[in-house]
Amino acid sequence: MKEQLETIQQEALAKIEDAEEMNSLQDIRVAYLGKKGSITKVLKGMGKLSPEERPVIGEMANKVRNIITGAIEEKSAELEEIALHEQLETEAIDVTLPGRKVNVGGPHLLTSIVEEIEDLFIGMGYEIKEGPEVETDYYNFEALNLPKDHPARDMQDSFYITNELLLRTHTSPVQARTMEAYNGERPFKMICPGKVYRRDSDDATHSHQFTQIEGLLVDKNVRMSDLKGTLDKFAKQMFGEDREIRLRPSYFPFTEPSVEMDISCKVCNGEGCSVCKGTGWIEILGGGMVHPKVLEMGGYDPKIYSGFAFGMGPERIAMLKYGVNDIRSFYTNDIRFLKQYHHA
């Protein structure tokens, strides 16, 4: 009987080893371990054994049963794994097909530039001030030392609504309003971004509506070298540490002395090219020391206070920084243009 059990074990293990599918394993289980299986048959013949032999054979039969059961389980796990593997293989997909597109929005290029400049000056302690786009002649011109019939009013032919109301031609009226609001009583620094309007025909370089950012600092003992230092810091952060700046004398009715700021041309590194018209320099902003009349009209005593102001055009900066060559592109809102320039 002992031999019989050993034979059963060997046979069963061999069959399990050879089994290739779950069904065969099931058959093996029934054939050896089932109620009518080989082991049961052997056990049925135990009656003929001596009482001493019975427990020995019983124990052996159990052992054989356990070994076969274990082998079946092991094989079964192995077959399951193989089956799963085969199934996963059939589930392969084409990873080169496109994903489900997420709708992506983003800011307009001008907004990106305006916010970049805002953040840069906020970092230097400036507040952001805004004001109306329809202005009075007083705030747009007179408070800025541009009385009626001043020849410099020609520089900015304006969209008037009435004799006293017009679309602001620069954001400087916000400066006048801020000074008035602070009533000559405290130093301050501010920048004012916004839309401005000029009586121009739209073409590649002119737009009847455009954007401007102006800055104003009023305090005691403000020096022209402070303006130079501030603009240098701005230009290097905005255009790169390797840019050089150059200030030239200029003329604005609301500043004296006045300056025009150039930065060294990035395209040719100052050698001269078509972008900088051969000069190696690109005009980027205008500014100067606040004219004493402007301070006075704003309620600040020019004997105690001085200040500096500057202004620039985000469109121009965008055109230089990103090579946009038609100012109208900012206002036609071609989706291909907007997508190209946003960094979402």
């Binding site: 109301l165 070298s225 402070d226 004398p249």
Partner: protein, 809 residues
């Protein structure tokens, strides 16, 4: 203004400084040189020759065989120019000469006949057309008779000149002249200025006063008027050097008289006008305001109707010139003119400016009067012209002049102090440096230690206060030489204010859900001025604000809605096959309720969006869904959720919107915007497919927004979910039921969501089923089933009573 390097060199010794270097230094001192243009280039072996004989080439119809005297020899030259003739003095390129473009002149045979050189046009010498006198644009150049045979043409024709194009800003009227630029350049280079010759040689016994008297009736507009008389004038071409100077400055030579007045205008910055004395037809000059409706025929042949705003020169009866702007046709100098009445005057800039605006006649003269001329140079300019009339027009200048003089010749005094200068500039300039700068500027001054009392010359009308002089010192000292410092003030903390921060948050939200920001114009046309204006704005009966003088009909009115602009963007993209677009813009609208506007319109900030095409676009998965009402509503709801502001939506009908798919956005019973589908008819007109829009009043949002939302604890006790589906009449609004459930269920019902809407099979006609998902929760304790059941039953009963709805089993 154009400034010729060679001409400038007459007044200031430019030494060997190159035009490029000079341009750079002028620019850095405050007058921007926008460009440099060369007239031509220096040429060798190109000389003045005289055509002795000119016959037809024996073998060619269109060629001429010329014998040309070039001083050292006579050359046989074949010339094809139609205007060549015997006796002419012409430009001859001798064999060996190299013309621009590396064109080498050699002895050649043309149709069997020898040709030893070339008779040149100015183009062949590399001269740009703008520098060529009109009559020589299409042929060879012909000198005046006095040209010296054999002489190199480089200097004669000013070929080696460089012309600067200057951008002279409104304050520097003094630089609108060669002498002014000479002063400027002398200050920059630390050189001396040589002034022009103004001496009048004539010893005529007759006096100008015998010929003409001057009366100024409008003395406020005309502070000086001087009249010179020049007799026996011979009209002929002006000398070549003068023509060259004018051409370089961009003015075409005409004849000696006109050229001399133009030359002095450019030299002194003082406009002059020459009348034909005989045609002036009077011995009295009367300067007055024009009468209303009075007329004058100006030099260009146009009849101009005048008003008392215009200042006119009259002969005592009728206008003979528009003061400072343009002369009259009737008194113009002609070939027959022999006596000249020369005007040197000082006219009011504002009056000239108004007349220019009214007539559109802007000229070299008017520009200078507008910006202001130098009182001390008015009469001198007249004298300079007389000097030139004597030399180049055979003129006899009568003694003296008739004049009215009410000019203020006083020089302003400005005091500066070295310490103050350095305080304002942040510099460390020394007393002697300031003294040197003032000397270079040719300003007279007295120095007392560090204090300078400066007499500002009348040519610098722009300098009146300390700051003006500060700029003068700084620019000659060099802006480059100022240090870099940062303001020392006590550090203000910068930042965005609440609204600015909120605006950025709203932008981020809208961009995050897939909208792209737009920038559109604030100005629109009449059709769009009120279109799609939000109902709460329309309720104020706004009057669109119009420009007084628009550039075009397209941009005439200030917008009352951002939507027309956004729709225009959509159309633009659609026309370029960009079909799926989701745009938004944040910007102001302009609300005025005055029929005739007197005060600034109210500027209200709005956020608007326009969407068209597919919102879900995954074509290969078969998931393509166009944008619909609920996409846009979802965006708006999401925005208000993020802002933690509750809003309600209410069905409405609006002009240009789909009558069944439009909703008002309301908060606390106030309309704060709307959303919905654009009316299909309007969409069709705009070439748009189904399009949805929203428009929100951000000022209303800002007013209500809580800066710091209160903190609510996360509930500790479990929630219980219940679903209810009601069968309802089809016209019952899902949102109303939802709101009512929330109301009845409060405070235990935490949220009510709709999870199914069904109509059709298995339902009675005219009915629909809506299923709600309710969450019950008590923050204080664990809810009991009985509490939930009681609330549930109350809801079922109320919906049955109020909406005739019953629970679907």
């Amino acid at each position: 203004m154009y400034v010729s390097y060679n001409w400038l060199n007459n007044y200031v010794d430019l030494g060997d400084i190159s035009p490029e270097e000079l341009a750079e230094r002028i620019t850095k001192s405050g007058i921007e040189v926008e460009g440099i243009e060369y007239v031509g280039e220096k040429v060798n072996d190109v000389v003045v020759g005289q055509v002795l004989t000119c016959e037809q080439h024996p073998n060619a119809d269109k060629l001429n065989l010329c014998q040309v005297d070039v001083g050292t020899e006579t050359l046989q030259i074949i010339c094809g120019a139609p205007n060549v003739a015997a006796g002419q003095k012409v430009v001859v390129a001798k064999p060996g000469a190299v013309l621009p473009g590396n064109f080498k002149i050699k002895k050649v045979k043309l149709r069997g006949v020898e040709s030893n050189g070339m008779i040149c046009s100015l183009q062949e010498l590399g001269v740009k057309e703008k520098f060529i006198p009109q009559e020589f644009v299409d042929g060879i150049y012909v000198f005046q008779n006095d040209a010296e045979i054999g002489k190199n043409v480089t200097d004669l024709l000013n070929l080696n000149d460089a012309v600067f194009e200057l951008d002279i800003l409104a304050n520097r009227a003094d630089a609108l002249s060669m002498i002014g630029m000479a002063n400027e350049v002398a200050a920059i280079l630390d050189e001396q200025v040589t002034y022009p010759d103004e001496t009048i040689e004539s010893n005529e016994s007759e006096r100008a006063e015998d010929y003409v008297s001057v009366e100024v009736a409008a003395q406020d507009l005309n502070k000086y008027y001087g009249a010179f008389i020049i007799k026996d004038v011979v009209i002929k071409p002006s000398p070549l050097w003068m023509q060259n100077a004018l051409l370089a400055a961009g003015i075409r030579p005409i004849n000696n008289v006109v050229d001399i007045t133009n030359y002095v205008l450019l030299e002194y910055g003082q406009p002059l006008h020459a009348f034909d004395y005989d045609r002036f037809a009077s011995n009295k000059v009367l300067i007055r305001r024009a009468d209303e409706g009075e007329e004058i025929i100006t030099l260009d042949g146009q009849t101009r109707k005048l008003t008392p705003e215009n200042l006119v020169i009259t002969n005592g009866m009728e206008p003979t010139a528009l003061a400072g702007v343009m002369g009259g046709l009737d008194s113009e100098v002609t070939e027959e003119t022999s006596t000249i009445l020369l005007e040197a005057a000082y006219f009011d800039g504002t009056t000239v400016r108004r007349t220019v605006k009214q007539t559109g006649l802007r000229s070299e003269s008017s520009t200078r009067f507008e910006k202001g001329v130098d009182p001390n140079r008015v009469r001198k300019a007249g004298e300079r012209a007389c000097h030139l009339f004597e030399k180049y027009a055979n003129g006899n200048v009568l003694q003296g002049l008739s004049e009215y003089d009410g000019l203020d010749y006083a020089e302003k005094t400005v005091v500066i102090e070295t310490g103050h200068v350095n305080e304002r500039l942040g510099s460390a300039i020394k007393d002697e440096e300031i003294a040197s700068i003032l000397r270079r500027l040719q300003f007279e001054f007295e120095q007392d230690g560090s204090t300078f009392t400066i007499q500002v010359p009348t040519r610098r009308q722009d300098i009146t206060i300390f700051e003006d002089m500060l700029e003068e010192v700084a620019r000659i000292y060099g802006y480059d030489n100022l240090p870099y410092t940062l303001p020392e003030g006590d550090g203000q903390v910068g930042g965005l204010n609440r609204e600015q921060q909120l605006r950025r948050n709203i932008k981020s939200f809208l961009e995050g859900v897939g909208l792209m920001e737009n920038r559109t114009y604030s100005l629109t046309d009449e059709h769009n001025s009120e279109r799609l204006c939000s109902p709460e704005i329309m309720a104020k009966s706004p009057v669109p604000v119009a420009l007084a003088r628009p550039m075009s009909e397209e941009h005439k009115y200030l917008r009352l809605s951002l939507l027309p602009g956004l729709l225009q963007s959509l159309t633009y993209n659609q026309a370029r096959n960009q079909a799926n677009i989701a745009y938004y813009e944040i910007g102001s609208i302009f609300v005025s309720t005055e029929e005739k506007i007197t005060k600034q319109p109210e500027e209200t900030l709005r956020a608007a969006g326009a969407l068209t095409g597919n919102w879900v676009d995954h074509p290969w998965q078969g998931e393509v869904k166009p944008v619909d009402f609920y996409v846009v509503k979802g965006i708006v709801e999401g925005l208000f959720d993020q802002l933690k502001l509750s809003v309600q939506f209410e069905q409405t009908k609006l002009q240009d919107m789909h009558p069944g798919r439009t909703a008002l956005i309301k908060r606390n019973d106030q309309v704060i915007g709307f959303l919905g589908q654009l009316h299909p008819l309007l969409a069709k007109r705009l070439d748009l497919k189904e399009t949805y829009v929203f428009d929100i009043n951000l000022d209303a949002v800002f007013a209500d927004y809580e800066n710091e939302p209160s903190f609510a604890e996360i509930p500790k006790y479990p929630a219980i979910a219940r679903d209810i589906a009601f069968i309802l009449d089809q016209d019952v609004l899902a949102g109303n039921i939802q709101a009512r459930i929330a109301e009845i269920g409060a405070p235990l019902v935490k949220s009510v969501a709709i999870f199914d809407v069904y109509e059709g099979e298995h339902l009675e006609a005219g009915k629909k089923s809506i299923a709600y998902h309710l969450i019950y929760q008590d923050p204080e304790k664990t809810l009991k089933d009985e509490e939930v059941e009681a609330s549930y039953q109350e809801i079922v009963k109320t919906i049955a009573d109020e909406f005739n709805g019953y629970v679907r089993s």
